[in-house]
């Protein structure tokens, strides 16, 4: 009797079908049809996800095996989906939020031509499909497929309005930055294969297998996986694509990057948490839906409130959800290492500063966008506001799902649900310390908000100075990358293509030819036409041969 969860393939399949229908039929379908297909497929997936979630809650955990994707020698990589607490939760998040995004988009994109409208929805569907593969994958490879798929979709979405060169560049940059992370992820997978000959979660995370890994292996794999996550979640040092992507054309696509892709990184770390044994993961998961909101609300007048909520949430002001997740992270960082805590705190402060700077710039100053953008700024139809409100509510209450013990005994519902998947580390910190840390961070955050308020209240496009300028330019990291990596690569490429390949390597090859021509030109002069010379040369060669024969050879 097969497990009922075998049919989970429907969940990713539906968005895929949606993608195909919208993609192929984008010229022929009407907009309403397209939105129906786009949203409908996700909605059904969402419904299925709820059903799956309930199944999992009921204790039915299943790895659905479909076919052998790659099977070489001892290495077997099946195409399989793993449905457990973690993935079912993420299924909910992805299909749920995905649906909201779709819904929102129907209205947001309605002024696009039907062709582009269809293209847009097909991209979105593909995105959801990839995300679903990512979270459902029963092994690292399937996960990687989704992982790259997400990168692809972000590329497509950022470059959606492909006439604009900046967008295209931003898209390429996002993809390449992601690829760096992907490479790390891949190498981690190879490392696992080399050590364990398997990539399946079920097999990798058995105690016996973990025991096979040396501490070096674990360090390398975790670091590589983390780099992979870094690329996808746009963390330092691979974050520079994200701001550009945000600057991209579609707020919705921006949302996707801010939210879902970042989630992907989190999910991956969570999935392999055994290797990390970190307790912060689930908290991070909680944070993401808030960030979604933040991204989503950008640039919309009417949603100032929701945006504000989002900002506050992200900044980590109690009691919004961001507060708890942030503190959970900070706390675990503190447990690990106080220095780490400092860094994390600093990052948190910067986030706060950044968010509020955005807020003030967007809503306090004059409108600085182009005319082109201005027509987007209108009263939002219900299709847009409803998702926003839902999200805002989520942001407010979301925090309480993961509310730590210090506030409410047994409040950490999320942690509880995920405990089969995530090995939690014991907290060895007194509540007093916890409170103190919370207080510290909150205080600093508020201070930062006030600082931002004063700085950007009447923001005009004036030259920023000092530290502000550094921030303005995103720490000049782009410039540093450009100088340290991109330019040398370009220079090397130019050198190789114009000098080395042409002059040196091909030069040597042609040189051989030229040498032949030259020696031919010279050698033929021996053929002087003079009989006397010919005889002389013959006699000399004869003498030489005689000398060799009689006097040199032994």
């Amino acid at each position: 009797m097969q497990n009922v969860l075998q049919i989970v393939y429907l969940i990713p399949l539906l968005p895929l079908i949606g993608f195909l229908i919208n993609g192929l039929g984008r010229k022929h379908l009407s907009k309403s049809m397209i939105s129906a297909v786009g949203c409908g497929s996700i909605l059904i997936s969402f419904a299925l996800s709820i059903w799956v979630f309930l199944q999992v809650k009921g204790g039915n955990v299943h790895t659905a095996h479909y076919f052998d994707f790659i099977s070489v020698g001892k290495l077997k990589i099946p195409f399989e989906f793993k449905i457990d607490q973690l993935s079912s939760l993420f299924l909910l998040i992805i299909t749920g939020i995905g649906f909201l995004i779709h819904l929102y988009s129907t209205s947001y994109m309605k002024e696009e031509k039907s062709e582009h409208f269809g293209r847009y929805f097909s991209y979105l569907n593909l995105f959801i499909f990839s995300m679903l593969l990512l979270v459902m994958g029963g092994n690292f490879v399937v996960m990687f497929i989704g992982w790259e798929g997400v990168g692809l979709c972000s590329y497509l979405l950022i470059g959606f309005w492909f006439k604009k060169h900046e967008y295209n560049k931003a898209a390429s940059k996002a993809f390449i930055m992601n690829r760096i992370g992907d490479l790390a992820f891949l190498i981690a997978i190879f490392w696992l294969i080399a050590k364990l000959s398997t990539v399946s979660f079920d097999e990798v995370f058995t105690a016996a297998n973990i025991a096979k890994l040396s501490s070096l292996d674990i360090t390398v794999i975790t670091i590589l996986l983390f780099v992979g996550a870094t690329g996808k979640s746009a963390q330092i040092p691979l974050y520079t694509w994200l701001p550009d992507a945000m600057a991209g054309p579609t707020p919705v696509s921006a949302l996707i990057h801010a939210a879902t892709m970042v989630t992907a990184g989190i999910y991956m770390i969570a999935r392999s948490n055994i290797l990390y044994s970190l307790s912060v993961i689930h908290a991070m998961g909680g944070e993401q839906d808030i960030r979604n909101m933040g991204g989503l609300s950008k640039k919309l007048k009417i949603t100032f409130i929701t945006f504000l909520i989002g900002c506050i949430a992200i900044a980590g002001i109690p009691p919004f959800s961001g507060f708890f997740s942030k503190d959970a992270i900070l706390l675990s960082a503190f447990i690990k290492n106080p220095v780490l805590y400092g860094v994390a705190l600093f990052a948190a402060l910067l986030t706060a500063f950044y968010m509020f700077r955005l807020l003030f710039i967007t809503f306090s100053g004059k409108f600085r966008g182009t005319h082109d953008q201005e027509h987007h700024l209108h009263e939002s139809p219900p299709a847009m506001t409803i998702p926003l409100i839902v999200l805002a509510i989520l942001a407010i209450i979301g925090g309480f799902v993961g509310i730590p013990e210090v506030f409410m005994h047994g409040g950490d519902k999320l942690g509880e649900f995920l405990s089969p998947v995530i090995t939690e580390q014991e907290h060895h910190v007194s509540h007093a310390t916890e409170y103190m840390l919370m207080g510290l961070s909150t205080g600093l955050v508020i201070a930062m908000i006030i600082f931002a308020w004063f700085k950007f209240r009447n923001y005009q496009r004036s030259e920023a100075t000092g530290f502000g300028k550094v921030l303005e330019n995103k720490w000049y990291v782009d410039e540093i990358y450009d100088a340290a990596i991109v330019k040398p690569i370009k220079k090397a490429g130019t050198f190789f293509s114009q000098v080395f390949d042409n002059k040196v390597i091909d030069g040597m090859v042609n040189g051989v030819g030229r040498l032949m021509q030259y020696s031919s030109r010279q050698l033929r002069l021996v053929q002087s036409g003079q009989v006397g010379n010919y005889v002389l040369l013959m006699v000399i060669s004869m003498v030489l041969i005689f000398v060799i024969q009689f006097f040199l050879r032994k």
Binding site: G532, L536, V539, V543, F546, V547, F550, F551
Partner: protein, 166 residues
């Protein structure tokens, strides 16, 4: 030193001297004459070796026919001047040195051959007589003999082809 030895040395010196004169005379006619002298001395050697047939043939064919032909051609071309153009000095030296080296090398190589103690039979021995040679030539060597007629035929045809005026 018997008469044979004296004759041998005398003929050898004459042969080498006249050969040297062949290549060093400026006047082509002189060269021809010196060459005839060389041939005569070689014929002398043949007689010394009791190869009478060859000695006669050498004088008749070489000294008589061939060299006269040469002389005739040279006269025909009016080349009997002393002002024959000379090769470049260095080329001549190079030629002489190369030829000298060849001689040196060959002599050095062949001075210790395994037959160095053997003697060439002088004065006696009947194989060089016309009778013996003729018998061999028309029995064992009849095929090559006939074949050499083809050579003459082709030389004849050649002379016609080359010499005939068109």
């Amino acid at each position: 030193m018997g008469i044979t030895q004296i004759l041998f040395w005398f003929l050898s010196i004459v042969a080498i001297f006249s050969a040297l004169m062949v290549i060093s005379s400026k006047n082509p006619v002189h060269s021809v004459l010196w060459l005839i002298l060389t041939f005569f001395s070689i014929s002398g050697h043949y007689i010394l070796l009791n190869a009478q047939f060859l000695a006669i043939v050498n004088i008749i064919v070489y000294a008589g026919a061939i060299m006269v032909l040469f002389l005739f051609v040279i006269m025909l071309m009016n080349l009997n001047k002393e002002t024959e153009p000379q090769k470049h000095k260095w080329l001549r030296i190079a030629g002489a040195v190369a030829g000298g080296c060849l001689l040196l090398v060959l002599v050095a190589a062949l001075k210790d051959t395994d037959i160095k103690h053997q003697q060439a039979l002088v004065n006696t021995g009947g194989i060089g007589l016309i009778k013996n040679l003729g018998k061999e030539l028309f029995t064992t060597y009849v095929v090559p003999f006939e074949i050499s007629s083809i050579l003459f035929l082709s030389a004849m045809v050649g002379a016609v082809v080359i010499g005939k005026k068109e």
